[in-house]
């Protein structure tokens, strides 16, 4: 079958789904959807349809990006626009099938928005919602809309046209096109992709490899996972085009075993590609042959580093090595190798299809195109987003993310995972691109954004990231192995109230040496969260060290719980709930917490009825409270001024 025939069949199948006589139900069943209960929803749909004997196409799709509203269910009713419903439960599913599919009431009260042409009264267009309105979806354009296990959907939406086009181009032309598009590596370092390909192509050697780095390991980052789950073919098509350009006959996708769904969808996609002879020997009867293997990683963070990743594929312990030689010269099995991140590969096909100029029309001078981010932390709307470079952090957090959760104050935003930094509100209006983040002391990284509110202790955040990198250091080089442990020990001392005045200076000195001395990117960037938090939040460090006070009331060793004698009603709820038996008091008697016995678990604060609000959390200060329980109303006798 020629590719044109394949395409014709695919388009026909796609049209039947969208405009055919059978209704379609699309369930967001990526990992985020499943975590929110998509499997129960699917079971319910199955049950309802069988019971009512309704014929419908039920399909699992990837993540649209509205993770906060998962599980998402789209319903295509013949003759009506497609409607997306959010936070769907099995009960809601039953109602939707009854009300909308059977009776025709679109239930605008449950709908998030319509997709595509046509208007339904009372339901906005999904893409006019604030979360989606300012996004530009190039990489994610299929995610959530097509069945990731059905190659025909991908082809019907223009898929593999890029490969067909690339087969007609000379490898040098492909590289030139990628260079002109301004695409930079989306794995974090932002190296120009076309140039990287060119190095590998020009490197002497017959056997060359390309690798897709799907070892996404930053805490709070899930862009690559969602993309692989939602649209695996976009990555594969990019790799095929890259292999053609570079002259590689073999490739690997290195994906962590903690992404079982992504791996499953990749395997299915690869099998379909083989069936369509879009991979293997003499692809589409051209002289181009390419074979691809999937390698599961065991979840070591350092294996995201390219030389460690290659060692892991070779069956060795995942440890990085010094460069030069660069992988483009001597990589996997000592052969020239090109490694790109999932998102980079996924950008390639669209660039070839739509042209470099079109792609380069998005973004800033130095950072072209779009970037996906996983928006996490204390924002109203978390999710997977894609925006052009140059958007400000404020737009991302306030417009797309809907601002800080529960109306609290913004404190900092962490980009780039453990290798990145924590940026304060001053940075909110800076347009985001590779260079602006670097100059602020952070990095783009693979695109994790963690938003922190006023209740976050920046010393504790630094401690958390250090404990992560320390645990994930491969142990090969001394500055990373023992330097990060040293910094972690100091940060633990500080958060435990044992910090010394010299510690900030010592942290900075160690941090500089670890950055300068470490072998690979992990160690070289590991101190970033500490350095940026000292740079922007030095006062918090000083408070911890000099006043033994945690201003955000997070560090357990530095906080205390007290019961306000003015507010306590002697109801005994906290007394009975305290797991440590640290509260003394009685009925109608002001309760007192024995500070020696208190484990600072916070139970008392949680159980104290909000109308009383008698439990206070403090740090560095001791409110006036009685020594011993006193009857209510006689709280004047205190031991502190």
């Amino acid at each position: 079958m020629s590719f044109t025939d394949i395409q014709k069949r695919a388009i026909a199948e796609w049209d039947t789904l969208r405009h055919g006589p059978t209704p379609g139900i699309l369930v967001g069943a990526g990992t985020c959807g499943r975590a929110a209960g998509a499997e129960a929803v699917l079971a319910e749909i199955d049950k309802e349809l069988t019971q009512r004997n309704i014929d419908a196409i039920v399909m699992q799709v990837g993540c649209v990006g509205l993770c906060y509203a998962e599980p998402l269910v789209d319903i295509i009713k013949p003759g009506r626009p497609r409607i997306c419903y959010g936070n769907v439960t099995p009960e809601i599913v039953a109602q939707l099938i009854e009300d909308y599919l059977v009776k025709g009431n679109p239930r605008s009260d449950l709908a998030l928005g319509t997709i595509g042409h046509g208007v339904v009264d009372g339901i906005p267009n999904l893409f006019e919602l604030p979360m989606l309105k300012s996004q530009v979806r190039i990489v994610l354009h299929n995610c959530g809309f097509i069945d990731p296990t059905n190659i025909n959907h991908y082809i019907a939406c223009g898929g593999y046209n890029g490969l067909v086009k690339a087969l007609d181009m000379k490898p040098e032309q492909i590289i030139e096109e990628i260079k002109r598009s301004g695409l930079r590596g989306r794995g974090g370092a932002g190296f120009p992709t076309g140039q990287k390909w060119e190095f590998c192509r020009e490197s002497p050697g017959k056997e060359k490899y390309i690798i897709c780095n799907a070892d996404e390991g930053d805490p709070g980052a899930f862009m690559n996972r969602s993309l692989l789950e939602g649209d695996p073919h976009s990555v594969l098509e990019g790799m095929l085009i890259g292999a053609r350009a570079i002259g590689a006959k073999e490739g690997y996708i290195y994906c962590r075993a903690e992404y079982p769904l992504a791996l499953e969808r990749l395997r299915i996609a690869l099998k379909k590609l083989e069936e369509y002879r879009l991979i293997g020997d003499n692809i589409l009867d051209s002289d181009f042959s390419f074979h691809l293997k999937i390698k599961e990683g065991a979840g070591a963070f350092v294996c995201g580093e390219e030389t460690a990743l290659m060692a892991s594929i070779e069956g060795k312990r995942g440890m990085p090595r010094s460069r030069p030689p660069f992988p483009a010269v001597s990589g996997l099995w000592g052969k020239p190798t090109n490694i790109n991140n999932v998102e980079t590969w996924a950008s390639v096909a669209t660039i070839i299809r739509q042209g470099a100029d079109w792609y380069a029309s998005y973004g800033t001078e130095g950072s072209k195109g779009t970037k996906t981010f996983s928006l996490a932390g204390k924002v109203e709307r978390t999710g997977l987003i894609e925006v052009p470079f140059g958007m400000t952090m404020r737009q991302i957090i306030c417009e797309i993310g809907g601002g800080i959760l529960e109306g609290k104050r913004f404190k900092a935003v962490q980009t780039g995972g453990p290798s990145g930094g924590c940026l304060p509100s001053d940075f909110l209006d800076t347009p985001i691109d590779y260079d602006s983040l670097t100059s602020a002391g952070s990095i783009m990284g693979s695109g994790g954004i963690v938003v922190m509110d006023e209740e976050t202790c920046m010393v504790d955040v630094a401690r958390f990231f250090l404990s992560f990198v320390q645990l994930e250091s491969c142990g090969k080089c001394i500055p990373c192995r023992w330097g990060t442990k040293q910094m972690l020990d100091i940060l633990e001392d500080i958060t435990n109230g044992r910090g010394k005045p010299v510690d900030i200076e010592l942290l900075q000195e160690l941090a500089q040496s670890i950055k300068d001395g470490s072998l690979c990117g992990l160690g070289q960037t590991a101190p970033n969260p500490v350095l940026t938090s000292i740079r922007y939040f030095r006062d918090e460090y000083k408070a911890h060290i000099e006043e033994k006070r945690c201003p955000a009331l997070v560090c357990n060793a530095l906080i205390s719980y007290y019961i306000d004698p003015e507010k306590c009603q002697g109801c005994m709820i906290c007394l009975r709930s305290c797991p440590a038996g640290a509260i003394k008091g009685g009925k109608r008697v002001v309760h007192v917490i024995d500070q020696g016995q208190c484990t600072k678990c916070g139970t008392c604060m949680n159980v104290c009825p909000p109308r009383f609000g008698a439990v206070i959390k403090t740090s560095g200060e001791k409110p006036a409270i009685p020594k011993e329980p006193v009857p209510i109303g006689f709280a004047g006798n205190t031991d502190a001024g």
């Binding site: 010094s322 090969k476 192995r481 100091i490 001395g517 072998l519």
Partner: protein, 924 residues
């Protein structure tokens, strides 16, 4: 000339790199790293993980430098020097980073330097001093709190991970040099540490105890258990296997207290195996012989080894013992003729000892009845090799292994018996893409690395090789031009192997047809192949046929007389090559000059000023029968132990007990010495000067490090004294003087002089003092003219299994022990690592017989019975059991068959029919 010179400079120019380091111009060869360039130029850069023998690692981060145009600090050990580079090695930023790095190590380094065995040469301490680490700067850091228990499980060394800095030299040495991978880095972050598989104690791991890691550890994390720093070191040669590793013996108070590999050693480049590293305490063993002993009159020979020495022997003066021996030997000669006396020389002794011994036998006793244990290991190699090529020695050198594309190893458990060669081959397979075919009835370790494994039945080597040649010829892969120009007898061979079809060979050998064909294709297609073999080939009644088959295969594929190819018999003992070269054989004088050649005889008669016999003497394996027939009355044994090494030991015992006179000269009271009438105390290798010739024909110097114990003397000294007593003084003053005499009479040793053997020794043939020695033989044609194909038919082993004896016993060595154990069993470390003999059996046989691991098993053959504990292992194929022969208490040679190869007179140690019964269950 005028035009050639600039071109030559241009050529040289291409291979050099000019760079600037700290404002100094440095010129180095291309491919050198920045660190090496600096060190070459005398610019010190501290480093803890660099080792010139290991691949660049870049882990310690102390060798950081700044290079113009490169971002940040760069590790100089991993960065190749490039033209025009501008390097700074000593800037404030570099020093700050280095200092903090060392402070971090020290904060995490447990250990009291005063009490540390490495304090004298601890690299960390040296670098800390160089960088001027200050106490208070370390104090402000948080101290590492991790404490590991010290691993003392190994008998030879201690692993103290509290002192480990994770430079990974140990891991890299085990991976890159030994290719064994017993250890690796495990865990992550601060918890990262060196571990065995499963983080078990090292003694419970797959570690082969070679100590390569211990030798390279820069701190006190890996240290020998008892070693003290020596006062001086003496360069000499390891006394164990035939590889010939160079070592330094460390001496303190006239005792050998340490050993280290010589990094410049041509055979080993610093590496050693478990025996070479730890097996030297026998030198100082309390059981060393220190005075001559004479059997107390009336005590029969049978009064065995369980008696007390002073109940059987009395200590004697040298004069008394020599006098007695001289008189007794002269008596026998007068009464029964010179041929009534035989002598065994020794492959453990020096060339000089062996030369003097054979001279004594020929010139003083007047007989050619001299032989030694080469008869038992490679006699068939000498006969077969001479028949095919004209020489019986290894045709190539270790340096050829570096160029070989395909190794074919048959009948050699190389990693156990010649560990250093085993590692060399594994390195070539692992890092250079060389390929390996292993043919062995047992699943030996090298099989794990092989492209094709052929598990043929014991004793079917000829059939197997004929089958390989059948496929090579069938597929037209033979080297036609080479065969035409350099060989003879091909047509006959071709006709013979026609019948050895893969199907027929599968029926005889049990090797699947497809494996045979795959191996044949590899052999036929390789650009250079080398065949290594050991006693699996030689110790058969068809030993000579087997060797000829190996030669056939080399001639057929043209893999001889070129670099990277060759005929590689691996010799078992340190100087078995030399003992043969020295004429400790019944049919040849030194240098394989035939005793029955009148011209040769004349030459030696003139030189030695005496009449010589032109009748070839008897071989080791014929001596026992000669004694029992009453033809041989007296036996002189120097450093050999037939009471453990002969096949069918009961037969040997009967013969030795029947002797009229037995003299034994040894360093210990061996099983044979217990039967002696006179025992002479000899000097061990560390106590004498001389030369050993290794497997690759390399003559290397050994040097005296300590005096012999008590009144012990060098072997040549004892024999010279005896000759003098017998009225024929030799007049030697030194070993070097003996070598001059050897050179004057032995053409292949013609250019050998002690003063020429400095660093690397010399490989024979070396006809004169200006000759550089010979790396590989037959470059300009074969010693016999054309290489000769021998059409060899397969003959089954002499003994086959029967209903009563349903198992095949095959014997051999293990890594930790050597020969009859006189030395290795008196080494604490080796003895502790492998304390007793075993019977190895396949799980299938064990299950069939109902045996479990550790059962005490009795093995019976027609000739006797032996008891040993059972070890169940997949190494043994079903139907075949294996026993090492090192233990008196479980002497495998009680069982072995003394049937001989008709030409080489080598016994068939490798195939005996036996049965096995359980004596009692394992004690639990």
């Amino acid at each position: 000339m005028s035009t050639a010179a600039p071109n030559k400079f241009k050529e040289m120019e291409k291979d050099i790199v000019r760079l600037t380091i700290n404002d100094r111009q440095v010129i180095v060869k291309k491919g050198v790293t920045v660190l090496e360039a600096a060190l070459n130029a005398g610019i010190y850069i501290p480093t803890l993980c660099y080792d010139p023998d290991l691949k660049p690692y870049g882990g310690c981060r102390l060798c950081l430098v700044e290079i113009e145009g490169m971002w940040g600090l760069v590790s100089s050990c991993t960065t190749p020097a490039a033209d025009g580079m501008v390097v700074q090695t000593d800037t404030p930023s570099i020093n700050r980073t280095r200092r903090i790095t060392v402070e971090l190590i020290i904060a995490n380094h447990h250990g009291d330097c005063l009490a540390c065995a490495k304090s004298q040469d601890c690299e960390l301490l040296k670098i800390a001093r160089y960088l001027g680490i200050e106490e208070e700067r370390v104090e402000r850091l948080r101290k590492g709190t991790q404490v590991f228990s010290v691993d003392k499980s190994h008998p030879a060394f201690i692993r103290d991970l509290n002192k480990c800095i994770l430079c990974a030299k140990c891991v890299r040495a085990c991976h890159e040099i030994v290719c064994h991978d017993a250890i690796d880095i495990a865990f992550r972050g601060n918890l990262a540490r060196i571990a065995t598989f499963g983080d078990k104690p090292i003694a419970e791991s797959i570690c082969k105890s070679c100590g390569e890691c211990v030798a390279r550890c820069p701190t006190g994390a890996l240290v020998p258990k008892w070693e003290k720093p020596p006062a001086e070191e003496v360069r000499t040669i390891c006394p164990y296997c035939g590889v010939g590793c160079s070592i330094y013996l460390g001496v303190l108070d006239n005792r050998v207290i340490s050993v280290r590999g010589d990094p410049q050693g041509p055979a080993n480049r610093g590496s050693l195996c478990v025996k070479g590293r730890w097996g030297y305490d026998f030198i100082n063993h309390p059981e060393r012989l220190t005075t001559p002993l004479i059997r107390i009159p009336g005590i029969p020979r049978g009064a065995g080894q369980n008696g007390k020495v002073n109940e059987i022997f009395h200590e004697a003066s040298w004069d008394e013992a020599l006098e007695l021996t001289a008189n007794k030997l002269l008596e026998l000669k007068d009464a029964h003729g010179a041929d009534s006396i035989a002598a065994l020389s020794s492959a453990k002794c020096t060339n000089e000892d062996n030369y003097v011994m054979q001279k004594f036998v020929r010139a003083v006793l007047g007989t050619n009845n001299i032989d030694h244990c080469a008869r038992l290991c490679h006699a068939s190699t000498v006969v077969g090799g001479i028949a095919a090529f004209g020489q019986g020695a290894m045709s190539n050198s270790y340096s050829d292994f570096e160029k070989t594309e395909l190794f074919f190893i048959i009948g050699s458990n190389t990693t156990e018996c010649h560990p250093i060669i085993g590692s060399t081959i594994k390195r070539r397979l692992r890092f250079d893409g060389a390929k390996l075919i292993v043919a062995d009835p047992r699943s030996i370790e090298l099989g794990e690395h092989a492209a094709v494994r052929l598990h043929h039945k014991p004793g079917t080597d000829v059939a197997l090789i004929n089958g390989l040649m059948h496929v090579i010829i069938r597929d037209g892969l033979e080297e036609k031009q080479f065969i035409r120009e350099h060989t003879e007898g091909f047509e006959e061979l071709r006709r013979l192997v026609e019948r050895y079809t893969p199907e027929a060979v599968e029926a005889v050998t049990g090797v699947p047809k497809s494996d045979l064909e795959a191996a044949a294709r590899l052999l036929g297609e390789a650009k250079s192949a080398c065949i290594l073999y050991g006693m699996g080939i030689t110790q058969h009644t068809t030993g000579t046929d087997n060797v000829k088959s190996v030669a056939n295969l080399l001639l057929l594929t043209g893999n001889i007389g070129r670099e990277g190819t060759g005929f590689s018999p691996l010799r078992g003992q340190n100087n078995v090559q030399g003992a043969c070269d020295m004429g400790a054989l019944p049919n040849v004088y030194p240098g394989y000059q035939k005793v029955d050649d009148p011209a040769v005889k004349k030459k030696f008669e003139t030189a030695w000023r005496c009449k010589l016999s032109d009748r070839p003497g008897v071989t080791v394996t014929e001596i026992a029968d000669g004694i029992l027939r009453g033809e041989i009355k007296g036996l002189y044994v120097m450093g050999e132990n037939p009471m453990l090494s002969e096949p069918h030991l009961e037969h040997t015992r009967q013969a030795l007990e029947q002797l009229e006179f037995l003299v034994v000269q040894d360093i210990f009271l061996s099983e044979t010495a217990w039967l002696g009438d006179v025992v002479f105390p000899a000097a061990a290798f560390a106590e004498k000067d001389g030369t050993f010739t290794n497997t690759e024909r390399r003559i290397q110097r050994i040097r005296q490090a300590v005096p012999p114990p008590g009144e012990a003397k060098t072997d040549w000294g004892i024999i010279s004294a005896l000759a003098e007593k017998m009225g024929k003084p030799f007049g030697y003053q030194s070993a070097g003087q003996i070598m001059e005499e050897i050179a004057s009479l032995t053409p292949i040793y013609g250019g050998i002089r002690f003063w020429r053997l400095g660093q690397d020794g010399l490989q024979w043939p070396c006809p004169d003092t200006s000759h550089p020695g010979t790396c590989f033989l037959y470059q300009d044609g074969f010693a016999r003219g054309r290489g000769k194909f021998h059409a060899v038919e397969y003959i089954p082993p002499a003994e086959s299994i029967s209903k009563k004896y349903p198992l095949v016993l095959t014997t051999g060595r293990i890594l930790e022990h050597w020969h009859t154990g006189t030395m290795s069993r008196r080494s604490n470390v080796l003895n502790e690592l492998y304390p007793n003999g075993v019977v190895e059996m396949s799980p299938i046989d064990a299950a069939r017989l109902g045996f479990i691991e550790g059962d005490l098993v009795v093995v019976n053959s027609k000739r006797g019975r032996v008891e040993a504990p059972l070890h169940i292992t997949e190494k043994s194929p079903p139907g075949v059991i294996f026993m090492p022969f090192h233990w008196r208490e479980a002497a495998a040679n009680i069982l072995t068959n003394d049937a001989l190869d008709p030409l080489a007179k080598i016994p068939e140690y490798k195939v005996s029919a036996v049965n096995a019964v359980r004596r009692r269950k394992k004690l639990r």
